[in-house]
């Protein structure tokens, strides 16, 4: 069974990108709604949004590290 690690790396990274994309999409959509409704709170909402995006993104990045490990193992 040659190359199963590569398959795992690719599929895992794709799934992680799917989840992260959904998460960041929902988050920024809600943030835009909030800023449109209350423009004077824009600064606080933007900072909170970036913090949230950062935490969501970190999960995909863990997957990226695992994928790189699998990739170098072959």
């Amino acid at each position: 069974m040659e190359g199963l690690g590569l398959l795992g790396a690719g599929v895992g990274m794709g799934l992680a990108a799917l989840g992260t994309g959904l998460g960041i999409g929902v988050l920024s959509g809600k943030a835009v709604e909030g800023i449109a409704r209350q423009p004077e709170a824009g600064g606080v909402i933007r900072t909170t949004m970036i913090l949230g995006i950062v935490f969501i993104e970190a999960i995909a990045l863990y997957t990226l590290v695992i994928s790189i490990l699998l990739w170098t193992k072959g």
């Binding site: 900072t47 970036i50 913090l51 950062v54 993104e57 970190a58 990045l61 863990y62 990226l64 590290v65 790189i68 170098t72």
Partner: protein, 254 residues
């Protein structure tokens, strides 16, 4: 090397990301060779110091173009990161966080220069920065509240007594996970971003023909532009998270 020859002997992206040793240097078994990563890191620190000192050389009431450009970045770090996350008493940490911000910013940006090697895309540099932040957080917390009160403040008040050990263990895990996630976030972002530029450029070598160049070069340019943006965002994110962790240790009064 021509495109055809490279395609024949196989092209390895990871190989091109590895640091190149410029000057071999060892103390016993410890390898402290000067690689192009180290040179980039020194250049980043040097450049940041030069630019900041140059801007503050003769401060004027009505700043010139250069001074006001640097001033606006420093003010952004002070107002939007330090004051927002830590309040007025966090100003003690402003020099530390400002240094971290400018070092990461210049490291990330210099990593985009051809021939250099991004220091923040090696695991060791972000790890060292995150460990410094980790020590700062807990030393400051213990110094401000005393060891016993500080560790008690980890557990939210109003919990029944038997939950305490479990919550305390969870908090220890999360305290260790924080520097780990700081490290991986900066490292993986910079590695992935800079590898993507390389991958787009190396499509020419992978396919062994220059016909893909008109397609892959514009993408590489777009990714380069995005990477400049991400370099700034990642410096901002590392600094704001450090400020948040230190701020939580200062205000540990619940």
């Amino acid at each position: 090397m021509s495109a055809e020859a490279a395609a024949e002997e196989g092209f390895d992206v990871l190989h091109h990301m590895a640091p190149k040793v410029l000057y071999d240097l060892r103390i016993g078994d410890i390898d402290i060779s000067i690689t192009n990563t180290v040179v980039t890191m020194f250049a980043a620190a040097f450049l940041a110091a030069i630019i900041l000192l140059w801007a503050a050389r003769k401060p004027k009431i009505i700043p010139g173009r250069f001074q006001s450009a640097v001033e606006s970045i420093v003010l952004f770090v002070r107002d939007d990161i330090v004051i927002t996350m830590m309040g007025k008493e966090g100003m003690v940490w402003f020099p530390f966080l400002g240094t971290i911000f400018f070092f990461i910013l210049f490291s990330n940006l210099l990593g985009l220069v051809p021939g250099s090697n991004t220091p923040t895309a090696r695991l060791s540099v972000p790890l060292a920065l995150a460990i410094v932040v980790f020590i700062s957080v807990h030393v400051h917390g213990v110094m401000k509240h005393g060891p016993i009160k500080y560790f008690i403040s980890w557990v939210p008040s109003g919990l029944p007594l038997w939950v305490w050990p479990i919550v305390f263990l969870l908090e220890i895990v999360s305290a260790i996970a924080k520097p780990f996630s700081l490290t991986v976030r900066l490292f993986a972002n910079m590695l992935a971003g800079h590898v993507i530029i390389l991958v787009f450029l190396s499509f020419v070598l992978l396919f062994g023909t220059y016909l893909v160049a008109p397609l892959s070069l514009p993408f590489a340019i777009v990714m380069m532009t995005l990477e400049v943006l991400f370099s700034a965002i990642q410096a901002y994110v590392f600094t704001i998270l450090s400020a948040m962790y230190i701020g939580a240790a200062i205000h540990a009064e619940h």
